[in-house]
């Protein structure tokens, strides 16, 4: 039986530990949990915040479609995807994927697949706002993201 993924698109932060526990607590069939957390980087120290714009409705729908595909391709016991929107400060969380399975390869591959497809298909756009006050700029899509998604 295929599990029903848990998908959230939200303004608030998330708690990776809580989400991971939600997929393992009280059950004995989970042998492997892989979590991916994406954070807002700022190595240059020039960023005041990332602004995450999204397409409400389609963002949830697309994440559900990608998650459902993952749950059909791999024997998972649980799958959670949370993507934040709004202003996100450097060092803060942006996205979380938690994949649980009886076996480690399924958990790794499902989480990896999910991030690749989320990057190229989920309707979110990042705009960088700078400390200097200069005009914010939209982050460009990376060619590497398309080739990552093409691996599957």
């Amino acid at each position: 039986m295929t599990i029903t993924p848990r998908v959230r698109v939200q303004l608030e932060n998330f708690d990776a530990a809580e989400e991971s526990l939600r997929l393992s607590a009280g059950r004995l069939d989970v042998g492997a949990i892989v979590t991916f957390t994406g954070l807002c980087r700022d190595e240059a120290g020039t960023l005041s915040a990332l602004e995450l714009e999204h397409y409400p409705g389609m963002a949830e729908a697309e994440l559900n479609r990608i998650s459902t595909e993952a749950a059909e391709r791999w024997p998972l016991t649980g799958l959670t995807v949370i993507h934040r929107y709004g202003r996100i400060a450097p060092g803060e969380n942006i996205v979380l994927v938690v994949a649980a399975s009886s076996h480690r390869r399924a958990a790794f591959e499902a989480a990896d697949f999910l991030m690749d497809f989320l990057k190229t298909r989920a309707p979110f756009w990042k705009k960088e706002h700078f400390i200097s006050g200069k005009e914010g700029s939209w982050v460009d899509a990376k060619a590497g993201d398309d080739s990552d998604a093409a691996r599957w």
């Binding site: 994406g38 990057k119 298909r121 989920a122 756009w125 939209w138």
Partner: protein, 83 residues
């Protein structure tokens, strides 16, 4: 038809959302884009780099040869950069 714009496409058009009458000759997404470009300078500028524009009909990704008949909402945006 309800039209939505996101990210820099939205900024160039200058609005988030609009409702338009779709002329009878508009069959595909490409036809719809050609029609939107004819509205004004802002629309024309938003769709200038046509290859950089992604399209969704009723919240599903589609290509430019997709038929628009029956769709209630079309959305235009740059390549996604979430995650």
């Amino acid at each position: 038809m309800n039209i939505r714009y996101f990210a820099w496409v939205r900024e160039r058009v200058g609005i988030e959302e609009e409702t338009i009458e779709v002329p009878g000759h508009v069959e595909t997404v490409a036809d719809l884009i050609a029609h939107l470009k004819s509205i004004d300078e802002n629309h024309a500028s938003a769709f200038e780099e046509e290859d950089a524009i992604r399209v969704a009909l009723d919240q599903f990704h589609v290509e430019q040869d997709a038929l628009v008949a029956g769709a209630r909402e079309a959305a235009f945006f740059p390549p996604m950069t979430g995650g």
